[in-house]
C-alpha cells in the first residue's frame, strides 16, 4: 500500500514537471517571437520590443529561461503581470480564493445530493424514479455546461421571472457576501458535476445490494433501514469517493467557461482576461495552476481508490 502510494506520488511529480514543460513550451519556447505576438501591431516599436524581451528573459538561452521561470514558480513567484505591473501571485491570490469558494460550495451541495439520488435510484431499480433519473443524467451529462448556465439565466434571471441576478457583480474578496449572485453559477456547476456521481453511486449501490453480506444481513432479520444504512451504503461509497474527487478536478478546468459566462472574478475569468490582453505570465500561471490542481486531485482519487479497495489495503500491508 505505502509503496503504491509512493509510486503514485513520484509519478504525480513527474507529471507536474511534464506539465510545466508543456506550459513553458507552448508559451515561451515557440519558434515565433512571443514578444512580437504579445505586442501585436505595436511590435513595430523596437524599444518596447526590446524592453518586453528583457522582461520575459527572451534573450537568454531556452534552458536558462525555463530554469529561471521554474525556480520562480517553485516559490510561487510567477513574474509580473504585463498589464498593471502587479506581481502575478498577488493578482491571482484573491481570485484563487474566489474560485475555490465557488468550487467548495458546489461540491458541498452537489456531492451529497447526487449520492442520495444515486442511492435512491438503486433502491428503486427499474422503477419510475430510476428511469427518470437515468434519462435526466444522460441528458444533462451531454449538454455543455455553459449552455446549462445560459438556460438558467434565461429561466431564472430574465423574462417574467427575475428571481436572480444574471451576472456576478462584486469583488473577488467578498464572494460569500452576496449569496443570491452565487446561486446560478453554483447551480450550473452542480448540474455539470452531478451526473457521473449519480451514475456511479447507483451502480455501486446495486452491486452492494446484490452482495452476499447484504443478503446475510437481511436473512438475519435486520430491519431494512439498518441493512441499507449500516451495511450497504458505507460499502457503496468507496468507488463513489473516487468519482467525486475526479469531478472536483474537472471543476478546476470547468470553472473557466462558467466564470466567463457569469463574469465571476475567479481564476477562469483571470485566464480569459489574460488571453484577451495577451498577458503571458498570467496565462502561464493560471494554466499551470489548473493543471496542478487536476494532477493533485487525480493523485488523491488514486489514493482514495486504493484505500477503499480492501484487496489492496490488506494484501500489501
Amino acid at each position: 500500500m505505502l509503496r503504491l502510494i509512493l509510486y503514485r506520488l513520484f509519478y504525480g511529480l513527474l507529471t507536474l514537471f511534464v506539465v510545466s514543460l508543456v506550459v513553458f513550451a507552448a508559451t515561451q519556447a515557440l519558434p515565433s517571437d512571443p514578444a512580437q505576438a504579445i505586442l501585436g501591431r505595436e511590435a513595430a516599436d523596437p524599444d518596447r520590443l526590446a524592453a518586453l524581451r528583457e522582461q520575459l528573459n527572451l534573450d537568454q538561452p531556452l534552458a536558462l529561461q525555463y530554469w529561471s521561470w521554474l525556480s520562480g514558480v517553485a516559490v510561487l513567484d510567477f513574474g509580473t503581470s504585463l498589464s498593471g505591473g502587479m506581481p502575478v501571485s498577488e493578482l491571482l491570490g484573491p481570485r484563487i480564493q474566489a474560485s475555490l469558494t465557488l468550487m467548495l460550495v458546489t461540491a458541498v451541495i452537489a456531492a451529497p445530493i447526487a449520492m442520495v439520488i444515486g442511492a435512491f435510484a438503486a433502491l428503486r431499480r427499474d422503477r419510475r424514479f430510476d428511469h427518470t433519473s437515468s434519462m435526466v443524467t444522460l441528458v444533462l451529462a451531454a449538454v455543455p455546461e455553459f449552455a446549462v448556465g445560459i438556460a438558467g439565466i434565461l429561466l431564472l434571471a430574465t423574462g417574467g421571472l427575475k428571481l436572480l441576478p444574471a451576472v456576478y457583480a462584486g469583488s473577488s474578496t467578498e464572494v460569500l457576501a452576496n449569496p443570491d449572485q452565487l446561486v446560478l453559477p453554483v447551480l450550473t456547476l452542480a448540474i455539470a458535476v452531478s451526473p457521473p456521481i449519480i451514475r456511479m453511486m447507483r451502480a455501486s449501490m446495486i452491486e452492494v445490494l446484490e452482495s452476499e453480506y447484504v443478503q446475510q444481513a437481511r436473512l438475519k432479520g435486520l430491519p431494512e433501514r439498518t441493512v441499507i444504512w449500516r451495511h450497504a451504503a458505507p460499502n457503496a461509497i468507496g468507488p463513489v469517493a473516487q468519482v467525486i474527487a475526479l469531478q472536483l478536478g474537472w471543476l478546476a478546468g470547468g470553472v473557466v467557461a462558467i466564470e466567463f459566462l457569469f463574469n465571476f472574478p475567479g481564476i477562469g475569468k483571470a485566464l480569459m482576461d489574460a488571453i484577451e490582453a495577451r498577458n503571458l505570465p498570467v496565462i502561464q500561471a493560471v494554466t499551470l495552476l489548473i493543471a496542478a490542481v487536476y494532477v493533485l486531485v487525480n493523485l488523491v482519487a488514486d489514493v482514495v481508490g486504493l484505500a477503499a479497495n480492501p484487496k489492496v489495503r490488506v494484501s500489501s500491508r
Partner: protein, 298 residues
C-alpha cells in the same frame, strides 16, 4: 459523416458480416433512446446542412436596427450589429458540425491505431504510448486547448488538431483494453502460427473485432467535440467574427440577452439538442455493445 447518417445509413450493411448475429447498429436501434437520439441529432443536422440554402438573408448582411427582437421582415429579429438572427442561425451550424465530426473521426482513428499497437505489441511501444498518454491526460482538455489557441491564434486546423489529439489518448486507452481481450483469442494465435505479418494481424484480425467499442467511442467523442468546440467558440477562441457560428453567436448575443434573447436561445437550443441526441445514440450503442460482448465471451 454524421451520427445520424452512420446510425441509419450503415445499418443495412451489418447483416453482411457473418460473425455477429443481430449487428450492433440493429441491436442499438431497438432501444427507444437511440430512436429519440437519431431524431434529435438528425433535426439539428438538417438545420446545419440545409440551413444555408434556406436562409432569407446573407449571414453578414444588415437586415435592420441592431438588437431588435421584432425587426420588419425578420423572423427572430436582429443581432447586436443588425444582422438577421435567423439567417445567422441557419448558417452557423455547418462549421460546428464539420469541425466536431472531423476532429472526432481523426481522434478515434489515431487513438485506435495507438491502442491496437500498444495492446498487441505489449513491448516498449506499449509503455511509451501509454505513459505519454497518462501525461497528456493530466491536462484538462479545455485548458490545453485554450493555452495553445491563445498563443498560436485561433485557427480551424489547430482547433481540429488539438481536439483530435486530446480525444486520441482517451480512445487509445479504451482500444488497448479491447485489444487485450481479442489478442488472447485463438484466431489471433492461429494467424500468428501460420506467420501472418503483424501489421496484417492488427488490421485484419484485431480491428474488425473491436469495432463495437470503437463505434461507441466515436459517438462519445462526437458528443464531447460538439460541446468543447461550442464552448471554445463561446469563449471567443474558436471561429472568429464575422463568421456565423453557434458558439460565437452565443458569445456575441449574451450581453443583450434581456432585450434580444433569440440571438442566444436559437444557437443554445441547437447545441444542446445536438449533444443530447448524440449522447442518446451513444448510450444506445454502448448498451447494445455490452450485450454483444456478453454473447461473444461465452
Amino acid at each position: 459523416m454524421s451520427t445520424a447518417a452512420t446510425a441509419s445509413g450503415a445499418a443495412p450493411a451489418a447483416p453482411a458480416s457473418p460473425v455477429r448475429r443481430p449487428g450492433l447498429l440493429r441491436t442499438a436501434w431497438r432501444f427507444h433512446r437511440t430512436k429519440i437520439g437519431v431524431v434529435l441529432a438528425g433535426a439539428v443536422l438538417l438545420v446545419a446542412v440545409a440551413g444555408p440554402f434556406l436562409s432569407p438573408f446573407s449571414p453578414t448582411e444588415m437586415a435592420g436596427m441592431p438588437n431588435s427582437a421584432a425587426a420588419d421582415g425578420t423572423l427572430f429579429g436582429t443581432d447586436e450589429v443588425g444582422r438577421d438572427v435567423f439567417s445567422r442561425f441557419l448558417h452557423g451550424g455547418y462549421t460546428l458540425v464539420t469541425i466536431a465530426v472531423a476532429s472526432a473521426l481523426a481522434g478515434v482513428a489515431v487513438g485506435a491505431v495507438l491502442g491496437i499497437v500498444a495492446g498487441y505489441l505489449r513491448n516498449w511501444a506499449d509503455e511509451l504510448i501509454m505513459r505519454t498518454n497518462d501525461m497528456l491526460l493530466a491536462f484538462p482538455q479545455l485548458v490545453l486547448a485554450l493555452l495553445l489557441l491563445s498563443i498560436l491564434g485561433p485557427q480551424v486546423w489547430l482547433l481540429v488538431t488539438i481536439i483530435a489529439l486530446s480525444h486520441a489518448n482517451r480512445v487509445a486507452r479504451v482500444t488497448r483494453e479491447a485489444t487485450l481481450k481479442v489478442v488472447e483469442q485463438d484466431f489471433v494465435k492461429s494467424a500468428e502460427a501460420i506467420g501472418v505479418p503483424r501489421w496484417r494481424i492488427m488490421a485484419a484480425e484485431i480491428l474488425p473485432n473491436i469495432t463495437s467499442p470503437l463505434l461507441v467511442e466515436l459517438g462519445l467523442r462526437i458528443t464531447y467535440s460538439v460541446g468543447t468546440i461550442a464552448t471554445l467558440s463561446f469563449l471567443g477562441m474558436g471561429l472568429q467574427p464575422p463568421q456565423a457560428d453557434w458558439g460565437l453567436m452565443i458569445n456575441e448575443g449574451r450581453t443583450a440577452i434581456t432585450i434580444q434573447p433569440w440571438a442566444v436561445v436559437l444557437p443554445v437550443t441547437a447545441v444542446a439538442v445536438l449533444t443530447i441526441g448524440a449522447n442518446l445514440i451513444t448510450d444506445g450503442l454502448s448498451r447494445a455493445s455490452i450485450g454483444i460482448d456478453r454473447g461473444v465471451e461465452k
